[in-house]
């Protein structure tokens, strides 16, 4: 039997997919860089208040958070107002000075974002601010939600 050779077109008919991993990797790197993986578990309730004249914090890397609000107790109860930095509640207000100073040395352009519950009293915040002054972390940001 005669063997017929198949006629073949000169060009390939497939879409070249060899560049796809490159594209995907590029997207991957973008999301890897923008992701902030570390989330703190809140031990105080922070229900932010609203304001109209607010600004955005562009450089999230510079931000260090202080949470102030009523302590969450077991059984859905709320305790007294407490200050939380990172993962622990700071009972000793004067300890904030050293903690924030150490953070400032690591990141000299640090912004302290104060996330304060709307019902907490101003007195505790003043004490914290006094500590921040002593630690010479002067840039603060009162975290609020947008009014609209």
């Amino acid at each position: 039997m005669a063997h017929f050779k198949k006629k073949q077109a000169g060009t390939k008919q497939e879409v070249p997919t060899s560049a796809m991993p490159d594209v995907v990797f590029m997207l991957l790197f973008f999301f890897m860089v923008t992701t902030v993986l570390r989330e703190v578990t809140l031990k105080v309730r922070v229900d932010l208040t609203k304001a109209t004249n607010i600004e955005k914090i562009e450089e999230k890397r510079l931000v260090s958070y202080i949470y102030i609000g009523p302590e969450r107790l077991p059984g859905n109860k709320l305790g007294n107002d407490k200050v939380q930095i990172d993962d622990s509640i700071q009972d000793d207000i004067n300890a904030i000075r050293t903690i924030m100073y150490d953070k400032l040395i690591e990141e000299p352009k640090m912004i302290v974002s104060l996330r304060v519950d709307k019902d907490s009293e101003f007195g505790l915040l003043t004490d914290v601010q006094e500590e921040l002054k002593q630690a010479s972390t002067f840039r603060v940001n009162y975290s609020t939600k947008s009014e609209n």
Binding site: A51, V63, Y142
Partner: protein
């Protein structure tokens, strides 16, 4: 032998699954990423006062004293004020269009001092601060429109600085009295 010798395969690593792996990682990071931006009111705290040093003297007329008590009642320069009138009053105080003796000498000299009680809820304090910053935003917008003809937000960095120097935002947060 009847069996044909097999052709040898090329010595390449199969890279087709690399895209799958990359996709998997991509989806993971897509899901975990939070792109929401933090918003808030930015402030710069003053350096701590040296107890040996006396604070610099400020002329009484250049200082707008705002007192907020725990119930949210406002006193502005010893005058009871509603929250929604605060903005107006601050604009009048800073600009002082009729050159009154009791109001600020010039916008550059004006200082707004906010004082609250320890018991004041945080939301009331933020409302107050918001009003004051709002008043300055209006003033700066006016200055931007009259000097450059565009809104403040659309000014370049250098021009913003010029406008900021016309209306410097001097807000002092006084320490609450011990009670």
């Amino acid at each position: 032998m009847l069996l044909k010798k097999r052709k040898r395969e090329g010595a390449e690593i199969n890279g087709s699954s690399m895209a799958d792996i990359a996709f998997l990682l991509l989806i993971f990071f897509l899901v975990t990423t939070t792109i929401n931006v933090d918003t808030g009111i930015g402030m710069v705290l003053p350096p701590p006062l040296d107890p040996a040093e006396t604070p610099p003297p400020i002329r009484e007329r250049n200082l707008m004293k705002i007192l907020v008590n725990a119930q949210g009642l406002v006193l502005m320069d010893e005058e009871p004020t509603q929250m929604d009138q605060v903005q107006e009053k601050i604009i009048e105080f800073v600009k002082n269009p009729e050159n009154l003796e009791t109001l600020s000498v010039s916008p550059q000299a004006a200082i707004v001092s906010i004082k609250t009680q320890r018991q004041t809820p945080y939301s009331i304090y933020i409302d107050m601060l918001d009003e004051v910053i709002g008043a300055y935003a209006i003033l700066r917008n006016e200055a931007a429109l009259s000097n450059f003809g565009v809104e403040y937000s659309r000014l370049s960095k250098e021009n913003k600085k010029i406008v900021d120097d016309i209306y410097p935002k001097k807000i002092s947060i006084a320490e609450p009295d011990e009670e």
